[in-house]
Symmetry: none
């Protein structure tokens, strides 16, 4: 695990005290990189007070206007989510998810997104995530304080560095780097183009096809070699379409 | 585990906001019983504000003058402690300790003690404990906020009640059944056939291609709808190959 490759991203936080609480929770568990997407009221002395001795985390926090500014260079994006969401998405609890993040952080940029205090992340924000993370809570009162949620995720990451909590290293040595978001977007564009070429996708009536395929491939986390294989298949397929069309001229 | 037999005991808490934060952390994780040993400033509206919807936990909190009043009837007492203490004592991390507490709570009264914000529990207080509990932290900044420490312990207890492994919702709420092994094998056969057809895969020199693709799709766990989409794409692709070949006859 490389904590320097893991960033905590707070989206549209309302209360500055929570930002300070998050900074302290992070530093207590050895995390340093905080991104604030359009915070409502920041900087603010409440944040400084709650951060206690974690003011260095606050001072180096990156304030950005949009989510994309915070995660554009990330290969692995996790969104925290309440249990019941309308879009089904790969969902893990904080413990399982921490293992995945820790492994990924060895050579990738990892982001964990936390939404607004009152209503979390939007569906659009959740859709850019590779995984959704859920923290088990009581049914009687499931709304965790924002800084508490960050604390639990940061704690689970920390546990992986203590001798007892080491994850089995089966996936440790992946043989190719995972694809960046940019390269994934290029793949989706190529895929859509090829599906239109073979007349599997009707641009006039695309239905849910591309979002289903996006969900599939964001779930798997393609590595660069796999991405090259898939794009190679698309390119070959497109050649056959051209040959078929030429013959009809 | 019986959460009704587990109490959280705060000793000489200074900041009432922390008491409210503790109440919320407890209720979020399904704990109800809070004891306050000689709190510095309580009741206080800061506590009510931070408790949010956990005011029932605050309202039923038992305020007592001495530690003994809070734990006299307990069979199992755990004290939270920073890592390096002068008195050697059985020490466990929060995860191991939660298991012991959960087991004991089946028929015993269990208490977890949390000390003062600035200096924790005294040696005398630690000596009445059966076990000491330590939450792993970064060496750079090991002082956890009081409510955060309670949150982590309560979370570890909660994790013991949630079904082990994959959280049910990840699978339960998926909108299509996952593919059977049989159907996956049919898909791989079809995929291989199509890759040979488009001349992307050379049967005489297949290299690692199919095993890379198998690894990719077994990692993702395809659902039946996704499988149908992928097989539909293969079928359309094969039609174009036939058209291209027919034209060359």
């Amino acid at each position: 695990m490389n904590p320097e490759n893991i960033r905590i991203v707070l989206v549209n936080t309302t209360h500055p005290g929570n930002i300070g609480g998050v900074a302290r929770a992070m530093k207590n568990m050895g995390l340093q990189r905080l991104y604030l997407v359009a915070p409502r009221d920041y900087p603010n002395e409440q944040a400084v007070w709650r951060a206690a001795s974690a003011n260095d985390v606050l001072d180096s926090a990156v304030v950005v206007p949009t989510l994309n500014d915070a995660i554009g260079d990330c290969q692995f994006v996790v969104g925290t989510s309440a249990r019941e969401r309308r879009i089904p998405w790969p969902l893990m609890d904080a413990r399982q998810c921490a293992e995945r993040m820790a492994l990924a952080s060895g050579r990738e940029q990892v982001a964990v997104l936390f939404g607004r205090e009152d209503r979390g992340l939007t569906n659009d924000e959740l859709k850019v995530c590779n995984l959704h993370l859920n923290i088990p809570t009581s049914e009687d009162y499931s709304s965790l304080n924002l800084a508490m949620a960050v604390q639990i995720v940061a704690y689970e990451l920390r546990m992986l560095t203590s001798p007892a909590g080491q994850p089995s290293s089966a996936v440790d040595e992946w043989d190719a780097p995972f694809a960046s978001r940019e390269n994934m977007e290029r793949f989706y564009t190529h895929l859509e183009e090829a599906l239109v070429d073979i007349e599997f996708l009707d641009p006039a009536a695309p239905r849910q096809l591309m979002s289903r395929l996006r969900r599939l491939y964001s779930r798997v986390r393609l590595d660069e070699m796999e991405l090259n294989i898939l794009r190679g298949i698309l390119t070959e397929t497109q050649k056959w379409v051209r040959r078929g069309r030429d013959s009809e001229r």
